[in-house]
């Protein structure tokens, strides 16, 4: 019983981190219909930047979020302007291939800069735990999960309470009408791409403390993230948050009660299950498509 409670609490903490990163992915899709396959790669980039800050400057990795996030945001803004914008009217498969290429390049660059050996960030509290009765909660997990929720709330406030948030939602609903009422959709899209990646970067700073990583870890992450957003309905942030929590539980329970080796199969199994149940596809409801412009 204790083991189960502990497992559930830990998986909810992990789920909070998943929720943050997946929100970024689903936000990008919702506004610009781009499935950013490089999302996992930017999370790992967040890990490595945090590692360098901690290793070279002695900065606490969780405080490092303050630097990691804006850096990855800026990178996302530039990438949108240079690479994504030119093909915004191309079929969605083109942007999938493009961001896939971006993921490979990012992986290669990280390998050249930081090497391909397993890296971990180990601040002083990494081996300490909180004790609640007979439940052990590692401090890093607790801090990390809480920080993730904090950043997620910040993102949510930006999207719902600010002018930028309204502009983003307007651009998502109808780009040409948004242009007509004076929203610069290009600028908004670049900001959204930056924000989405920043969420991945922040998530990277947090998970870097929890798990060791190599440049190639991004495949596991993108599989996980895609499964989460697919389960929650692509484009829906609320759905992503909810399914991230469910996913965190499914993954942790599989790892604890079956075997960690099979936990990696969970995301792929979910993608197939969702598709079997919802044959119209993973991208939410089918829209009226007889009105497509010639």
């Amino acid at each position: 019983m204790t083991e189960l409670v502990q497992t559930l609490v830990l998986s909810l903490l992990v789920g909070g981190i998943y929720a943050l990163v997946a929100s970024g992915l689903t936000l990008i899709f919702g506004v610009m219909r781009v499935i950013n396959i490089a999302h996992g790669a930017f999370l790992i980039l967040g890990c490595f930047i945090t590692y360098t800050l901690w290793n070279q400057l002695g900065l606490d990795p969780l405080v490092g979020v303050v630097i990691t996030t804006p850096v990855v945001f800026a990178l996302g803004w530039v990438i949108y302007r240079l690479l994504v914008r030119p093909i915004r009217h191309a079929p969605m498969s083109s942007t999938v291939l493009l961001t896939f290429g971006l993921a490979l390049v990012t992986e290669g660059v990280m390998g050249l800069v930081w090497g391909n050996d397993s890296t971990s960030i180990r601040p002083s509290y990494v081996d300490q735990s909180f004790h609640l009765g007979s439940i052990f909660l590692p401090k890093a997990q607790v801090y990390g999960g809480m920080l993730a929720v904090l950043v997620l709330v910040g993102l949510w406030l930006i999207l719902t309470k600010t002018w930028l948030g309204r502009a983003i939602r307007a651009a998502a609903a109808n780009p040409s009408s948004a242009e007509l009422v004076g929203i610069k959709t290009t600028a908004v899209a670049a900001l959204v791409f930056g924000l989405g990646l920043a969420a991945a970067g922040a998530g990277g700073a947090i998970t870097g403390v929890l798990y060791p990583f190599v440049p190639g870890s991004h495949y596991l992450w993108i599989a996980r993230l895609l499964a989460i957003v697919v389960l929650g309905g692509l484009g829906s942030i609320e759905g992503a948050v909810l399914s991230a929590l469910v996913f965190g539980i499914a993954e942790t329970v599989t790892a604890v009660y079956i075997s960690p080796a099979w936990a990696t199969a969970v995301p792929y199994a979910i993608v197939f299950a969702v598709l079997l149940i919802r044959p119209q596809g993973l991208l939410g409801t089918r829209l009226r498509d007889d009105a497509v412009t010639a």
Binding site: S93, G108, G111, L282
Partner: protein, 628 residues
């Protein structure tokens, strides 16, 4: 037909310059001879090895060109079939050490084909980017299973295959020539598919899947065939590849980079071409080996593949071959005018329709039976009831009109009738058979044809290809029929002649004007030889001369026995042509009757026509009364 029009009808230009074709054929022949002769001319194992790897990717990319190039489904899981083939051979060879390993190679193809069949049944229900996600998920899932199923695959330690026993003098020739043979088969298969009705069907699916279904293309079956055809020979190549490596493990054989390299080979060469994938493989694999051996391996390889993927998507989306070809074409045709301004022909006879015709004496039939019957049809989009209990009939042999204000549900109703959108409830009967549970293609096979308000041609296909794409019924034999020449093409040309668009036969559909597209779309529907033709605003957005021609054709086709249901806002057009006319308001039929009755119906005048609406005839009549 007047003389000048006859002249324009004959200037159909050749599709590609003869010289370009012969240049291409010559290059292919030279390359084939070099490939076959190379092992005999040189004993350099480094290059032999490089060619063997390139051959594997050439086969994989050529296979991929069927599902991705023709049908437009981007798969990043193609590498999984290489791995499955490799492991099929590996597992069987290690368990039966006394049997020749070559025996298992065809079996590797069968396994790959079966897996493709199962995966396709699930994955091909999704489209576009979802399909990419699923194929990647599939690849990783297979890898996880292979790693964890140690008793079968050896897990991370992998499997060691028997070392080849033949004479060292012939080096790797058996691998080399087997792969050349498989490549030849794959190219033959790809070549044959793109010439058949199946091939045009697949391209139609790529261009506009919903529309493809309405012209009778059986989506799931044709996509499945394409997916299996993309994987069987790749599985065999994977088997040979595994044998050649003599050591295989799940991390290597199901590496995503195999899929990426296959995709790159396809994109670099040209995804919709026959030889592009082969060319691409022989560009990408040598680069890959160079990066691996001379530039530091792993990470450089990632930069190379990732960078190439980005550059291709951004700057060369069609690949090298099409770019070269269109460059040559531009040189060849410089200074010569295109067909853009050519006149539309005035039509020819429709022997293909009239021959089959048993001209019904409609004067004798007093009360014709309904061909189409709509009963209480309903469709809601969220809270909006677009079609809310519409019921009406279309009598056989009639030209029935359907009018109503904007947003009254006319186009939605059409979409429900041909299942472009699925109805929430109600019944649809066609010629005494209930069709509302049938797929769009099954409805097309039963005699339903439909044009769209905003034309939906397959934009990247030529006019002729657009017209041969429809499939009147589903038979396996028909799928294998050659589409681009022979009887199918002749029938299509005849119909094009009839609508006056034969001169435009080899133009891309996207290059046509809106009015011309309407004519081609009508020809496309006629190719289905439908009993009932639904026309969505046939007179919308086209010039008056063309409207007259359209009226004329509808009348003529009607006299051949075709029944029409027409949605149109052009009142003189509708009221002059149609009888009966149904009026739709708020998703319901609010009135039905002859044009004269409709014009007098106060509800219709109030909701739609407006009280100042008078037809010319009515106006003159009143004028005469006043004059008296």
């Amino acid at each position: 037909m007047s003389a000048p029009d006859a002249a324009t009808a004959e200037v159909a230009p050749p599709r590609r310059g003869r010289s370009t074709i012969w240049l291409g054929r010559g290059l292919v022949a030279v390359a084939a001879v070099l490939l076959l002769a190379y092992p005999m001319l040189s004993d350099d194992l480094y290059y032999q090895n490089m060619i063997i790897f390139s051959l594997v990717f050439a086969i994989a990319a050529s296979g991929l060109s069927i599902i991705t190039g023709l049908a437009g489904y981007v798969s990043l899981g193609q590498g999984a079939f290489i791995g499955l083939g490799g492991f099929t051979v590996g597992i069987l060879a290690t368990r039966h050490p006394d049997t020749s390993v070559w025996l298992w190679v065809p079996l590797a193809g069968v396994v790959a084909g079966l897996v493709a069949l199962v995966l396709g049944a699930v994955a091909l229900r999704a489209s576009g980017p979802s399909f990419v996600i699923i194929t990647v998920a599939f690849l990783f899932l297979v890898q996880v299973i292979a790693i964890n199923w140690r008793s079968l695959t050896g897990g991370t330690e992998g499997l060691s295959l028997p070392i080849p026993t033949w004479d060292v003098d012939i080096q790797n020739w058996p691998f080399y020539y087997t792969l050349v043979g498989i490549l030849a088969l794959q190219i033959l298969l790809s070549w044959w598919i793109r010439r058949t009705k199946l091939g045009t069907g697949l391209v139609a699916i790529r261009e506009d899947e919903t529309k493809a279904a309405t012209v009778g293309i059986n989506l799931p079956i044709e996509k499945m065939i394409a997916f299996v055809a993309s994987s069987v020979l790749v599985g065999m190549a994977g088997g040979v590849y595994g044998y050649y490596l003599t050591f295989i493990d799940p991390r290597g054989m199901f590496n995503i980079l195999l899929s990426v390299e296959t995709m790159l080979a396809l994109l670099v060469g040209g995804k919709a071409t026959l030889w592009g994938p082969v060319l691409g493989a022989f560009i990408v694999e040598p680069l890959n080996q160079y990066a691996n051996n001379n530039l530091g391996g792993g990470n450089t390889r990632l930069l190379l593949f990732g960078g190439m993927l980005i550059v291709i998507v951004l700057f060369l989306p069609n690949g090298v071959l099409p770019a070269v070809e269109s460059g040559l074409e531009r040189l060849r045709t410089r200074g010569r005018a295109g067909l853009v301004g050519a006149r539309i022909g005035t039509g020819g006879s429709l022997a293909s329709l009239t021959d089959r015709l048993s001209l019904a004496d409609r004067e004798a039939v007093v009360d014709p039976p309904p061909l189409l019957e709509i009963k209480d049809l309903r469709k809601a989009f969220g809270g909006l009831k677009a079609v809310d209990g519409a019921s009406f009939t279309v009598p056989e042999g009639s030209i029935t009109g359907l009018i109503g204000p904007n947003g009254s549900g006319k186009t939605t109703l059409f979409n429900l009738i041909d299942d472009t959108i699925h109805a929430d409830g109600g019944e649809i009967w066609l010629a005494g058979e209930r069709i509302d549970r049938l797929s769009p293609w099954a409805r097309a096979h039963r005699g339903l044809g439909r044009t769209f308000q905003i034309t939906r041609l397959f934009r990247e296909m030529t006019v002729l290809e657009n017209v041969v794409a429809p499939q009147r019924s589903f038979t396996w034999g028909q799928l294998g029929r050659i589409a681009v020449s022979g009887p199918e093409a002749r029938a299509a040309e005849e119909i094009l002649e009839y609508v006056g668009m034969r001169a435009f036969r080899d133009q891309k559909a996207a290059a046509l004007s809106f009015g011309q597209q309407k004519l081609v779309e009508l020809a496309q529907v006629l190719m289905l030889d439908p009993k009932l033709i639904l026309l969505d605003e046939p007179a919308g957005g086209i010039n008056p001369v063309l409207i007259d021609r359209m009226t004329e054709m509808i009348r003529e086709l009607n006299s051949y026995g075709k029944t029409f249901l027409i949605v149109e806002h052009n009142m003189p057009f509708v009221l002059g042509l149609c009888d009966p006319v149904h009026v739709l308001g708020r998703g319901r039929t609010m009135a039905s009757g002859t044009p004269a009755e409709i014009q007098k119906d106060p509800a219709v005048v109030d909701a739609y026509l407006g009280d100042d609406f008078v037809l010319e005839a009515a106006a003159t009549e009143r004028q005469e009364v006043r004059n008296r």
